[in-house]
Amino acid sequence: MKALKFLIPLVVFLVLAGFCAYALVQNHDPHEVPSPLIDKPAPEFALTRLDQPGQTIHRADMLGKVWMLNVWASWCEACRDEHPYLVEFAKLKALPIYGLDYKDQREPAQAWLAERGNPYDASLFDANGRVGIDFGVYGVPETFVIDKQGVIRYKKIGALTPEALRDDVLPLLRKLNG
């Protein structure tokens, strides 16, 4: 036992190196903060439609179906990258897709959709970003999947990718609708 004492610093070093290697290898993006909202009821909201300022959509209106909430804005660079995938995904009609037009103005937002295609069943117009804050939005685009009971089941921070849609969203959807 005593003879092995000289190994202690080596063991300590290896443990440290192990931690460092883990941090390097696991490929964790510190910008992706796990949302405490997962598996919690979606916050209340009542927002007007982007295209119809007279019509309001409430949280309660969405109960009973699994739906996607995609936070976007016409000023958002990353949304431009994400948008074609979303337009493509909408053609599958896998689930209703609602936009949350975050801290935007109606005119440029509508022009943006007219130019790039509109994958949304409707976009909720969140001019002052209050609903975005309630959803814990901090980096547009963000995407949520909300189940029939109004519980948030999935959140993606940053642009959706075809992989995320195929490997995360669609299997989750099968589970929630199954």
Partner: protein, 190 residues
């Protein structure tokens, strides 16, 4: 001597671990001095604030309370800044949100809950003590205790060793030995 080398090596290793563990916490516990400075200089800070901040700067007391709270909350956009410091749009909005909550009489505790409900414990610069953060909070103390214990054990062991177990002390300039290694030293008479 071999024992001494091992002791030194072990201590060095522990010394290497302590800052590494402590480094996990610099965000966790910003110097309260800087936070206090932000709070104390609230009226002066206003000129650095985004336009939204000026609207209610007329109430310096409210502004100071708001900055005291947001000074301990992490901005999700610029993650190494506090909500009080950040110029990100979201931070401006959240400062306004905190002002309004304070005006409605909400306590700092309620406001912190409002933030963690949305963004998780990640926004707290002082993470709460709970099972998942025990290592963060107690790790450095435990390591220090282990290091001190090792030090005490080794010193006591060495104190019991006979003189001839030690290497002779180095020569003085005049070529004589500093202390005669064979003659008993006062400390070792027992």
């Amino acid at each position: 001597m071999a024992d001494l080398r091992r002791l030194l090596a072990a201590l060095l290793a522990v010394a290497a671990v302590v800052p590494a563990v402590a480094a996990q916490a610099p965000d966790a516990a910003p110097s309260s001095a800087s936070t206090a400075a932000v709070a104390a200089s609230a009226p002066a800070t206003v000129k650095f604030e985004a336009p939204g901040a000026r609207l209610t700067a007329a109430d310096p007391a409210l502004e100071a309370r708001m900055l005291a709270i947001t000074g301990e909350l992490r901005c999700l956009v610029c993650q190494n800044q506090t909500i009080a410091d950040s110029h990100a749009d979201l931070a401006v909005d959240l400062r306004q949100e905190v002002r309004e909550m304070l005006q409605k009489g909400r306590t700092p505790e309620q406001i912190r809950k409002y933030m963690t409900d949305r963004y998780g414990d990640f926004v707290l610069y002082r993470p709460p003590l709970k099972p998942s953060t025990v290592v963060l909070w107690l790790g450095p103390v435990v390591l220090l205790a282990v290091a001190l214990l090792a030090l005490v054990v080794v010193i006591r062991k060495r104190a019991r060793l006979a003189d001839d177990q030690f290497e002779p002390d180095p020569m003085l300039d005049d070529g004589t030995e500093a202390v005669d290694a064979t003659s008993p030293r006062p400390g070792n008479l027992a």
